[in-house]
Amino acid sequence: MPGKLKVRIVAGRHLPVMDRASDLTDAFVEVKFGNTTFKTDVFPKSLNPQWNSEWFKFEVDDEDLQDEPLQITVLDHDTYSANDAIGKVYIDIDPLLSNEAAAILSGWFPIYDTIHGIRGEINVMVKVDLFNDLNRFRQSSCGVKFFCTMSIPKCYKAVTIHGFVEELVVNEDPEYQWIDRIRTPRASNEARQRLISLMSGELQRKIGLKVLEMGGNAVVGYLQCFDLEGESGLVVRAIGTACTLDKLSNTATSLLPPCSSPSKDMKEVPFSEDPNPVTHSSGPSTPLKNQTYSFSPSKSYSRQSSSSDTDLSLTPKTGMGSGSGGKDGGPLKALYRQQTQSAFEHREFPFFTLTTFPSGFLVHVGGVVSARSVKLLDRIHNPDEPETRDAWWAEIRQEIKSHGKALGCHAVVGYSESTSICEEVCILSASGTAAVLNPKMLQDCSMEGCSEHRLDDPLSLGCNFCHIPYDELNMPFPAHLTYCYVCRKQKVPDVLFTTIEPPLEAAVTGKGCLIQARLCRQKKKTQGEANATAISNLLPFMEYELHTQLMNKLKLRAMNALFGLRIQITVGENMLLGLASATGLYLTALPSPGGIQVTGKTPSDSSYEQHISNMQKKINDMIIKNREIYEINPPEILEEVLGSPIPETRQRSRLFRSQSESSDDVSELDLSHGKKDAFVLEIDDADAVEDIHSLLTDAPTPSGFYSCNTEIMPGINNWTSDLQMFTSVRVFRLNNVTSLTSQWLNKAFSDLCENLLKTLYFKLRSMVPCCLCHVNFNVALPEDELIQIAVTAVAITYDKDQAQYVSKVCTDKTLLRASAENEEQLQFTLELCMESQSTQCALLFSPSKAAEMTESGSLQPVTPAAQRATSVDYSSFADRCSSWIEFIKQKAQTIRRGSIKTISSLDKASPLAEAQARHRSPISCTTSTVVEMTPLSFIPGAKITKYLGIINMFFIRETTSLREEGGVSGFLHAFIAEVFAMVRAHVAALGGNAVVSYIMKQCVFMENPNKNQAQCLINVSGDAINFVRDTDVESAPSQSQASGLQTGNGSGDVVT
């Protein structure tokens, strides 16, 4: 009996009036876990009851602890009739099971009812005493940490990245059970909420077991989804990347063994750790924490890698000692290849859900790989054997794997899976980016390994990942290759599509922007097999067209790479919608894109020709304008003014450019559909006219705004701490879909998206200059004629004044927070930074820079260099002076890197902090902490000190008085606000002040206005964290203590 769960009900407030006669409520609380229920006394006649209950103790298996939610029900006592439920709170106690996370969960939770929404709040305290179970065959996986974050979490260091984990569980949907006919909507909703909570607990536990089996201790990039298959059941599935993580300490981690032997310590009190934390930049200074799980990581390490690998990995170590690792490059490469093979061969699916990697991990990127399949759903007969669904996904994954192989890659990164369901038809989709990874990092990501790798890799100029991984002579598809524009040594494609974040070390010119391709295809309303076939037939055409659109829009913006590409295909009864979103960028290593050429088929007609040339002019003008907007200045300028160290390259590059005029992309998308040149638009048919039209009608982003769907916007580093996460949902009704032309539909759909973006820009105008990051569109077709678009994103204000900013950077100690650097390197960087301050001045007045200065304004002469920056090869720093260009690039990179991390050193009074400070004085009511929410994995201008556990919540809201609640908009507005509030409350109760990697995975909205009814399901997830603003870093120790006291007080207040 390995766990004791203790719950105390303290008080309630703002309860609804349940007794009309007295305008009061006689409230009591039922606490339920598993099959055990406790009750508090009735607190008569009060809307603010003080129960101050004893500690209710549940003795439970840790398996149950992981699966079951704690269920707290607030009821109104009624002597004569049945007690009325006021509402419930579900608390996922999983965050309390990890030995590093919060020791207690305590705070005010909104009391939620699926019919009435939030009805007051309840103050609850929850504790778990966990005894260790050393049983190898146990079914629980307590202690495995889960992260939604798609990168190695900031306070951790990856010791090993083990690889892909997946699991799915199925069940009958309570909404479709026979009993649903006789129970109330409330009971049905609650059954559903509880079941999904149970299923996701079970899923997490099962995945945890797999992770333990692999020898890991955490899942990063955890992505859990629900498939509401209606009649045929409910599927909860999840994928993630198993890792062994180590908490970062401020002592050089390399001195310690990779993972100290686990001990069986009980949980530590959170306040006792972090004795001297955040002044250092290398992450939280908690001394290496011990892990509670019973597997020895060192053992798993040896299990993972064959003995020959270990031998190999020793070789470069000796090479490093001599400091001339670069020369060993040739033979080592061969060794890598061997190693790579063996490291990946035994993996069933070499997939990684991560989108950002420790530097040195990603070697080459091949391109996007994706696979889709259309399936007909049938009832899941045996929930214990979800084999059909498993087989479906295995099939798709196999396909992805083979696509990756075709691109010469052994791994797929930025991998994700999704479904779209309409009635009995289901489209399963998977996509990722084929890549070559550094195999050593898979076994040991410790810093040693990293620096080693850098040493013997001569190409760490930030272009390496762009180099083609496949054989030039044996290309998987017709692509146009040129020599890399940075190193001039390796071949690169002319366009690169990926699903990952731009790597930190990537050399980027200018800024990026959100690029969307939108498409609508009609289909006949059919049933079963015929329907599935019709859809399958449409899919390739849609993909091709989306791809063409993306390519054209990319060219129009004078960019050559897409990151974070996400293609969503949604199936409805009578149409299919395709929406591709990505962030366009100009990668310095890739050739400059040629323009778009418009040609007509019938040149005899002069007015027609006139029309074409007009269009051509418009397109050309727009390309020029976009170059200005996104500050894309061809990199040649730098070389010219500085005097290129390799004179012949200029010539060469010119040559390449002219060649690159007609080429194709690297993505594996069906190029078999025609050898049509992507750059030449023939307007011989209506489609092409429409294409061009849609190209030109995309409204430009208003000035002061940038947008991207990736986490960071290259070229903008100086974020302030002013951020606003939001969700916007729109539903449109198309009348008479069948009578509409597909052209009209296409335009309508495109307009919907554009209008939504326009509204967002307008709403957020007070935050200018700002960037919308992680713009995530979700399209659904809830009914015949309805299109639903949900957008979640975060707007972050940035500081325009970069020059002022850069000078600050050097003095700021919080450099390089994000990257996992060890102490030695850190100091080194600081040093570099100091130097760069002086060289920066030199740059300022160097006449050779004049050309740039006139372009970018005198205030920011450093930026163009920074944007073109490449990664610093620290180990070869000694001979940095040999190349002037490289030198500058290094500086620039350091500045840029530094600036990413010191975001808010400028804004001393962050609005929220200020607000909090003010709050205390005038309004003396108990302050609820402000909880930030962001889809990003970090908080700009702040340092994450602690991860408190995963938040994964599912809510249902239903109404039978839609009009009274302000119609559909009023209903959904209130519901989304309620969901936010409940997420914030849970985070605050865990002692956190933010949710990172927040995502609204599902928002299913159904209405029946005639019956005055509506129902909505929302599923959200994220990582609860605690952060400290950079500006508060100095006072951090005292502050964290204060906040600890505050939470203590919050509950203490009520007791007294």
Binding site: T727, R730, V731, T759, K763, I923, T926, V930, E932, A977
Partner: protein, 357 residues
């Protein structure tokens, strides 16, 4: 193609102060959009009317949801549903409870009952304030009144604690509550020239000096109800006008003190007895609730108007009242010095505040 549903929800509730004002002013969404269009926001932000409409709708919806909480501001501070930075919370509350001069002049001193609420259409037409806004302001008055009506302790502090208003606004509400409780007449034509601020000042004086709170700081309703005992005692002042000797003596003392100091000496001398009689009659009648209501009317009729017709300036009035009050001390036969000063101190302040065009 029609938009069925359109919502925008921020983690931090987005509040546009201009839209909030339009909402408070009771404009419909369409009117608000029209007004915003006129303000040139479309050109400024480079956007279209449909975007503006969607934005306005969103805000209106949020405000409607917030309104429930605004009815009890401490709830707004404690609730978890909307994350609003405290300065913004303060702004929301302050603006919600702010009322307009024309409106308050119509309602001040009236009973805050259903009947008055029904007459709000007339108030709306008369003041050109939308009916919706009138209702909000009226309901605010009524809500504040109901909460603090029977509370112990100082009125302004009670209002501040329960509604988290600024000092100034809490003071104004104290005046509204005080006037509504005693039902002072403020609507007569003769009183039209007075502003709410004039009345608020008078209310402050009355609360400070004439209520129970002036003598006992822990009494129920201490700041709302006038001190009955005091009003009863005021009858004793009658001696100043009924006793001929006392009246003459008083007059000569005042005249001596003011000779050469005021421009309107002769007028003053001739009207002294009338003025004195006016002031003292007001005092002696205050025990009757009806006459309390007419306090301001009486002050204007019996004192301010006669003075104005004789072209006294404010300085003359001030000197006269000061001397009129002080010289009573020298009257040996007059035994009610304390009472006299409690009465005249307040009356003087009120008259001085009310003595303008």
């Amino acid at each position: 193609m029609a938009v069925e549903l359109d919502v925008f929800v921020g983690n931090t509730t987005l509040i546009d102060k201009d839209v909030y004002q339009l909402w408070l002013d009771g404009y419909s969404v369409n009117d608000a959009v029209a007004i915003r269009v006129q303000s040139g926001i479309l050109e400024q932000a480079g956007t279209t009317p449909d975007v503006l409409e969607s934005d306005t709708m969103d805000h209106y919806r949020a405000f409607q949801m917030l309104e429930r909480l605004l009815h009890s501001p401490p709830k707004l501070i404690n609730q978890l549903l909307f994350q609003i930075p405290p300065p913004m919370q303060a702004m929301l509350i302050e603006k919600y409870y702010t009322f307009e001069e024309p409106f308050v002049r119509e309602v001040l001193g009236k009973k805050l009952s259903k009947g008055t609420k029904k007459d709000l259409d007339d108030v709306s037409t008369k003041t050109a304030i939308t009916l919706k806004s009138c209702r909000r302001q009226f309901d605010n008055f009524k809500r504040v009144f109901k909460v603090v009506e029977e509370m112990k302790g100082p009125l302004v502090e009670n209002i501040q604690q329960n509604f988290l208003l600024s000092d100034r606004l809490a003071g104004d509400y104290a005046a509204v509550v005080f006037f509504a409780n005693s039902r002072f007449e403020t609507g007569k034509k003769k009183l039209q020239y007075l502003t709410f601020e004039d009345f608020a000042c008078c209310a402050e004086q009355l609360i400070q000096n004439w209520t129970l709170g002036a003598v006992d700081s822990m009494a129920d309703d201490m700041d709302v109800d006038l001190d009955r005992e005091f009003l009863q005692d005021l009858k004793d002042l009658k001696v100043l006008i009924t006793d001929k000797d006392l009246l003459d003596q008083h007059k000569s003392l005042v005249c001596t003190a003011l000779r050469g100091k005021v421009t309107i000496f002769t007028e003053m001398e001739s009207s002294f007895k009338n003025l004195s009689r006016g002031l003292i009659n007001i005092a002696t009648k205050l025990i009757h609730t009806k006459d309390v209501r007419d306090l301001f009317v009486d002050l204007v009729e019996k004192f301010i108007e006669p003075c104005k017709s004789d072209r006294w300036n404010i300085n003359d009035v001030c000197l006269f009242l000061t001397q009129y009050t002080n010289t009573a001390r020298a009257l040996d036969a007059f035994k009610h010095q304390c009472l006299w000063e409690r009465y005249m101190g307040t009356v003087k302040s009120c008259i001085l505040k009310m003595y303008h065009d």
